[in-house]
């Protein structure tokens, strides 16, 4: 087990190294880093100071070393636009994205599980087929397109829900959240549903195939032979069995949701890290871009690492294969 953990850990470090090289190369090797990394409005003395601090007068490999050692100390440079450390901006924007992502995952469970179970129970009915067609659409339509239709329908035509911004927020332990006020929640609803759409489709498929499989099991027939009501059989015996894979998959997809928030946040002008990234790219605020990418990549590598370790604990066969 220890050997396996070390193997996976070293692999993760290698991936992180490769990714940091790509990001570094992107920022430092293309174009003149002095132009890209230093605020053009800074005076000469400040510019020279920055060149020295970033080691831009040194050879490439040495520059990478300086870049990485700074990065490891949490220093990814200051934002040109806001003139504060890039990581700090990301930290202040992160709660908004997390709130959106968690609500989206919540929607995926609350809407996806019952719809999928219904489609599994009534496979041949019109509604059952309609749900599956809907999930295929949910898979193939671009997120931003659906977001646009949401805005057109619910904000412009019907005027029910606001189309942009975060609305009124309340602080919990110093972190502002939207979902506790009506105004905030009404702002949160459409973007969260938009972000959830893909995951809802995914959950519908998982829940449907799970339900169909579970229904064929002997223990369901045995439950019926015990004289249980249909409500109890579907609501307890079937539901509990399909929830395990659904929650596992959604847990894995959380990182994915955060990455896809880039699109939804842009459509709904939601002030999270995704919109920050797009704004920073168009403002050429490179330090923020670098900070975002490195942070997200690290997050993914961490999630993958943890999942691998968890799987190997749950399923010893994975471990054997890995150490061959």
């Amino acid at each position: 087990m220890l050997a396996f953990t070390i193997r996976r850990l070293s692999q993760s470090v290698i991936v992180l190294f490769v990714m940091s090289v790509i990001v570094f190369a992107g920022v430092f090797a293309i174009g003149n880093p002095v132009d890209i990394l230093i605020n053009p409005e800074a005076d000469i003395a400040e510019q020279e100071e920055t060149i020295r601090r970033l080691g831009l007068d040194k050879p490439m490999w040495a520059q990478y070393g300086v870049f990485m050692s700074n990065a490891l100390q949490g220093d990814l440079g200051n934002s040109f636009v806001h003139n504060i450390p890039a990581l700090e901006i990301i930290a202040t924007r992160l709660p908004a994205t997390l709130e959106l992502a968690f609500l989206a995952v919540g929607f995926a469970i609350i809407l996806g599980v019952p719809l999928g179970m219904y489609a599994g129970l009534k496979d041949d009915t019109f509604i059952g087929k309609a749900i599956m067609t809907g999930s295929i659409l949910g898979f193939s339509l671009p997120t931003f397109w659906v977001g646009l239709i949401f805005i057109m329908l619910f904000s412009v035509s019907l005027g029910w829900l606001p189309a942009s911004g975060r609305g009124e927020t309340v602080d919990i332990f110093g972190v502002p959240v939207s979902f506790l006020t009506w105004d905030g929640f009404s702002h949160l609803f459409l973007p969260a549903l938009n972000l959830a759409l893909f995951k809802i489709s995914l959950v519908i498929r998982l829940a449907r195939s799970g339900t169909k499989e579970v229904l064929l099991q002997d223990y369901i027939k045995f439950a019926r032979a015990k004289g249980l009501s249909n409500t109890r059989i579907v609501g307890v015996h079937v539901l509990k069995n399909i929830l395990i894979p659904v929650i596992t998959v959604l847990g894995l997809e959380l990182g994915n949701v955060i990455a896809f928030a880039v699109v939804t946040e842009t459509v709904f002008a939601w002030p999270g890290i995704g919109k920050l990234l797009i704004d920073s790219i168009s403002n050429l605020d490179r330090p923020v871009v670098v900070a975002y990418l490195l942070m997200t990549v690290t997050m993914f590598i961490l999630i993958n690492f943890v999942v691998d370790i968890l799987y190997s604990i749950l399923d010893p066969r994975v471990r054997l294969e890995g150490s061959k």
């Binding site: 992107g26 397109w145 646009l148 805005i151 990455a259 699109v263 842009t266 871009v289 997200t296 993914f300």
Partner: protein
């Protein structure tokens, strides 16, 4: 071109394939729509009422006219955008960019991913492990994140977008072709070819590859839709194609600002075109999967 001597009643594999495909009306409709879209994209310069990027043909005074309005020289069936460009013409030109970016990136990714997958499956061992590790690793990141990293590293431009789309897609092909090729490789005809001392390259490309194509076609069709969708997303985010060669995604982005003021059509119609494109490709892809999947064949 030789004249075929096959009698018309003979059931060739191709004929059978066509018949199986035609069983589902929706798929046939999807195919027709898709072909029409491709033709519209190819012949856009000749069939559109206006070249929306020829400044001499555009009157700024026609800006944001509602669908069906008449301008000085023509009727704008789908309205105009903020620059006074005819949206119908804009959509046809946008389709050109969207479809060609999707198609080119898919073909390149198919060649790269397909070759790597074949090589891995044929030679096995270390090469296989390395290729598949990289593919697995890449697939563990969401496509949009990979694309964002590459676009922010490489900068903008159509070529950069294509590189990003290729990078996102190749692993799917490598995986698909590898799994089929691994099954095919164990069959006797490959062994026979090896015994005859035929060169590796010939075995891989002449013998192995043709047998691995059907699943690749299915994945490829679906991936074209994904590529178009991802390109549209990136363009909508403003980090995709440059404004000189607008795709459907960029047209949608341009109209997005006017949507809240009620001028829905600037975004809506390009969006509709995108929707039709993606749905029609998916319909075709779904049916191809059903027809080409040997497990489902009766």
């Amino acid at each position: 071109m030789t004249v075929t001597t096959t009698p018309p009643k003979a059931i060739t594999p191709f004929r059978r394939f066509v018949e199986d495909f035609a069983e589902k009306r929706l798929a046939v409709a999807g195919l027709f729509v898709f072909v029409a879209l491709v033709l519209a994209a190819i012949f856009a310069p000749w069939i559109t009422p206006q070249n929306p990027y020829d400044l001499t043909q555009i009157d700024f005074m026609d800006g944001r006219l509602a669908p069906g309005s008449s301008g000085a020289t023509m009727t704008f069936w789908l309205g105009t955008d903020d620059q006074g460009r005819d949206l119908l013409s804009g959509i046809f030109y946008g389709l050109r960019t969207s479809l060609s970016v999707g198609a080119i990136s898919t073909v390149i990714a198919l060649v790269i991913g397909g070759s790597l997958g074949l090589i891995g499956a044929y030679f096995g061992g270390k090469i296989d492990t390395i290729i598949m590790r990289i593919a697995d690793l890449q697939l563990s990141f969401p496509a949009i994140l990979i694309a964002l990293i590459l676009v922010s590293a490489l900068g903008q431009g159509i070529d950069k977008i294509i590189i990003a789309l290729v990078a996102v897609q190749w692993a799917y092909y490598a995986r698909t072709i590898r799994s089929t090729a691994l099954v095919e490789r164990r069959k006797e005809y490959i062994e026979a070819a090896t015994c005859l001392a035929i060169s590796h390259r010939r075995i891989v490309f002449k013998h192995l590859m043709p047998n691995c194509t059907p699943p690749l076609i299915v994945v490829g069709t679906v991936q074209v839709a994904h590529a178009i969708s991802l390109e549209a997303t990136l363009s909508f985010l403003g980090i995709g194609v440059p404004i000189t060669e607008p795709s459907l995604g960029l047209l949608i982005k341009n109209g997005f600002d006017y949507m809240l003021s009620g001028d829905y059509w600037v975004s809506f119609y390009p969006g509709l075109a995108l929707l039709i494109t993606i749905v029609s490709i998916n319909l075709v892809g779904d049916q191809l999967r059903d027809v080409l999947n040997p497990r489902l064949q009766k």
